[in-house]
């Protein structure tokens, strides 16, 4: 007799914990063929606000950590993900084309993407900072700093796409609230399990599953969110409304885009959510 498997309950990831939605709602997730996979939590406005609170609370510690420390932690995430390579491939195979082999390649590319960003933690300032030769007896130095709490609407690619939008935001010291892909949210919660066991402080990454059209506008209008990444918003009208709402407190916005996640990521996703701070100091006896 074959053994009956014990299934996982997919919940949210907020402040380092895995709560169900406070609304008690869930929605069925199916494979592209229509097979039932699991019930995912359907996060509410209240969950989104809790997630922003958690992200804000984590911001001072995370942005104040040394870049070296943040790099070590991102690299640790890569190590943990590599260790769960088979699990991720198996979980994502039903929801993507190309089957198991393509799924494994996607996991490998995701690990490598994390390693790429891990290395940026203590280098972005060397590339984007400057000693400015002002015409006067002043020391003048510009350095990049994280913008704060960033809300991310993740793209449909459930793992590589997700990590490709989250890693560049957090490596520089931002914290984030992620709305996972609505049709394929399960990998994001399994990724949260990886994050939770990688020395990443709770609250740095918060993951909401649910309806994009319900959650994104609340985050776009939230006055304690500093940046908004709309990459995963396919509905042009929703994207427009979100960008307009974001104007209220002048969130830094990354507009929706069709991205090839296997291409060289460049540094644009990091720099979009960086501020530049310039310090002046007189020089004299």
């Amino acid at each position: 007799m074959s053994r009956l498997s014990v299934r996982k309950t997919y919940k949210l990831y907020i402040g380092g914990a895995f709560p169900r939605s406070e609304s008690g709602r869930s929605y069925p997730v199916t494979s592209p063929k229509g097979e039932f996979l699991a019930n995912a939590s359907q996060a509410s406005r209240k969950d989104a606000r809790d997630a922003v609170v958690a992200a804000r609370k984590a911001f001072p510690g995370w942005s104040g950590a040394t870049p070296y420390n943040r790099g070590q932690i991102l690299y640790r995430v890569a190590e943990m993900l590599e260790g769960r390579r088979a699990q991720f491939a198996e979980e994502s195979a039903p929801v993507r084309q190309g089957g198991k082999r393509a799924a494994l390649e996607a996991v490998d590319a995701t690990v490598d993407r994390l390693v790429w960003y891990a290395g940026w933690s203590d280098k972005i300032a060397a590339v984007r900072g400057a000693a400015n030769p002002v015409a006067g007896p002043y020391f003048n130095l510009s350095s990049p700093e994280p913008t704060g709490v960033v809300a991310i609407v993740a793209p449909a690619d459930p793992l590589l796409g997700l990590v490709s939008v989250v890693a560049p935001v957090i490596v520089t010291g931002n914290t984030c609230v992620v709305v996972a892909s609505e049709p394929s949210p399960l990998a994001s919660i399994t990724l949260a399990e990886v994050l939770a066991t990688s020395d990443l402080p709770g609250g740095v990454v918060n993951v909401l599953t649910g309806r994009q059209a319900e959650l994104a506008p609340w985050l776009a209008s939230h006055m304690d969110v500093n940046g908004l990444d709309l990459t995963g918003v396919a509905d042009a009208d929703l994207a427009l409304r979100c960008e307009q709402a974001a104007a209220e407190n002048l969130k830094r916005v990354l507009r929706p885009a069709q991205e090839d996640w296997t291409a060289d990521p460049g540094i644009g996703r990091m720099t979009r959510f960086l501020e530049t701070k310039t310090v002046w100091h007189p020089v004299g006896i």
Binding site: G119, V127, P282
Partner: protein, 474 residues
């Protein structure tokens, strides 16, 4: 003042298993050297630790050939793959940190507190940092073309850290290396060879050849070496610069120093005293950027020297493996002789010598923390690098005089400034002809921060984005 006794707190050597003899590491294998073997000893006890091979010029040639062969494969690897090898090496160093720290203290004589808390964390961080550059070279602005085979010769004061400074950026940029560790401190480099094997680094990417000056000279002179990197004395640096003259070899040199540590009357005295102590007694003063000249503003000279002497009375000199030890053993008999000679010259030229009362072990190479006051700029001990725990104290009245005296040296590696006034720090920093200037701190190192000298302290920078330039065909 009540004096309480310290109980010994020795670090166990059980974590280190030293074999009776070691060969050369060429093409991923340990092989015998063709030259006569020599012993590496524990400078704290004079007990031999292991028999070490000497690489002759034929051996060096084999190492360069292995590196040349590996260069094709290594430089053609995608940067992201090279990065992952370097991250592996960084992680293995972290995993084996205690073993390497104990080994470093045994072979070098430095206090375990320093090898454990300074050397090893910096070694791992350096590999971690340059690992991250391997797939980001196009963002650094020096192109992405590797040079080829790098011949690297390193000193005995920070054996594994200097290895990291040399090997990590070289490999990140796609070069392969032949490295010669110092004659008196070869062990951690040989352990590093084993780490390369644990990391499955392709054979020939890293080759370690041990020996004395002749071996180093063979590495530098080899016609198939594209890049020479040397850390050591200015005297040898000049010889190397002459050797590579007329060739296509790219050269970086990190040489001696005679840094001024400048203390103004408004400085926080207690912090300044700690900085002075750290500046010259860290690593027994075997530091090229050591703050070996204290320039103190005349108005606070007495107060500062009183505090400094009181503080020196609390330094613990002795067993490097004791976790209480502040100052360990001098690295070699030769170095001890040099420190003694220069100190005697200091006295004969009229400076006043002072050391705290301290009991030195009977065996091994030891020199007490020493201060010379009444030093003039013309004195030998104000001009020559002593490379030991010996501080020369000079005074100044105005910032301009401090700058004048600080820059009055053929060296230009580092300098220290102690004042509570920010604008003065920056004014002084502008005027000082030195590659690294520390303000209200001293002897700080980080892989993200470039290090290197002006003038006869050498050229080229190690560390940071700028450290990549030395290993790319710019």
């Amino acid at each position: 003042m009540a004096i309480f006794e310290y109980a010994p707190a020795p670090e166990s050597t059980d974590v280190v298993d030293i074999k009776p003899s070691y060969g050369l590491f060429i093409n991923g294998e340990f092989v015998d050297g063709s030259g006569p073997t020599f012993k590496t000893i524990n400078p704290a006890t004079e007990v031999p630790l292991a028999e070490i091979a000497t690489a002759t010029s034929d051996d060096v040639d084999r190492a360069v050939q292995a590196a040349r062969k590996a260069f094709g494969v290594w430089s053609a690897l995608p940067g992201a793959e090279r990065a992952k090898y370097l991250f592996r090496i960084a992680r293995i160093i972290q995993e084996r940190a205690r073993e390497l720290a104990v080994l470093e203290s045994l072979d070098n004589g430095k206090p375990i507190r320093e090898s454990r808390d300074v050397d090893l964390p910096l070694v791992a961080a350096h590999f971690f940092y340059y690992a991250g550059w391997a797939d980001k070279l196009e963002y650094a602005g020096f192109g992405t073309k590797a040079l080829g085979v790098a011949g690297q010769v390193i000193p005995w004061n920070f054996p594994l850290l200097m290895l990291a400074w040399k090997i990590a950026p070289a490999l990140a940029c796609g070069n392969t290396v032949v490295l010669k560790p110092a004659e008196t401190t070869p062990l951690t480099a040989l352990w590093f060879a084993d780490i390369c094997r644990q990391a499955d680094l392709p054979p020939g990417v890293v080759n370690i050849v041990t020996g004395a000056g002749d071996t180093g000279a063979a590495v530098v002179a080899h016609p198939d070496v594209n890049k020479v990197a040397f850390t050591g004395s200015t005297e040898v640096g000049r010889i190397i610069a002459r050797t590579v003259a007329g060739t296509d070899k790219k050269l970086t040199l990190e040489l001696g120093g005679k840094a001024a540590n400048i203390v103004f009357e408004d400085a926080a005295i207690d912090q300044a005293v700690e900085g002075i102590v750290n500046g010259i007694f860290f690593n027994q003063g075997h530091v090229c950027c050591a703050g070996s000249r204290l320039l103190v503003q005349e108005s606070i000279q007495d107060e500062l020297l009183d505090s400094l002497k009181r503080r020196l009375g609390t330094l613990r000199v002795g067993d490097p493996l004791d976790k209480n030890t502040d100052v360990g053993a001098i690295n070699s008999a030769d170095q001890l002789a040099k420190i003694r000679e220069l100190s005697e010259i200091g006295e004969s030229e009229g400076a006043l010598r002072w050391s705290p009362a301290c009991e030195l072990p009977e065996r091994g190479f030891w020199f007490p923390p020493t201060i010379f006051t009444g030093v003039a700029q013309s004195h030998t001990i104000a001009r020559d690098e002593i490379f030991g725990p010996v501080l020369s104290v000079l005074t100044f009245r105005t910032p301009a005089e401090a700058v004048e005296k600080a820059n009055n040296t053929p060296y230009g590696l580092s300098a220290g400034i102690w004042t509570e006034k920010g604008s003065r720090i920056l004014w002084m920093a502008d005027k000082l002809r030195a590659g690294v200037v520390w303000a209200n701190t001293f002897n700080k190192f980080d892989p993200a921060s470039p290090f290197g000298g002006y003038k006869e302290s050498g050229y080229g920078r190690e560390g940071g984005l700028l450290g990549l330039e030395a290993y790319l065909d710019v």
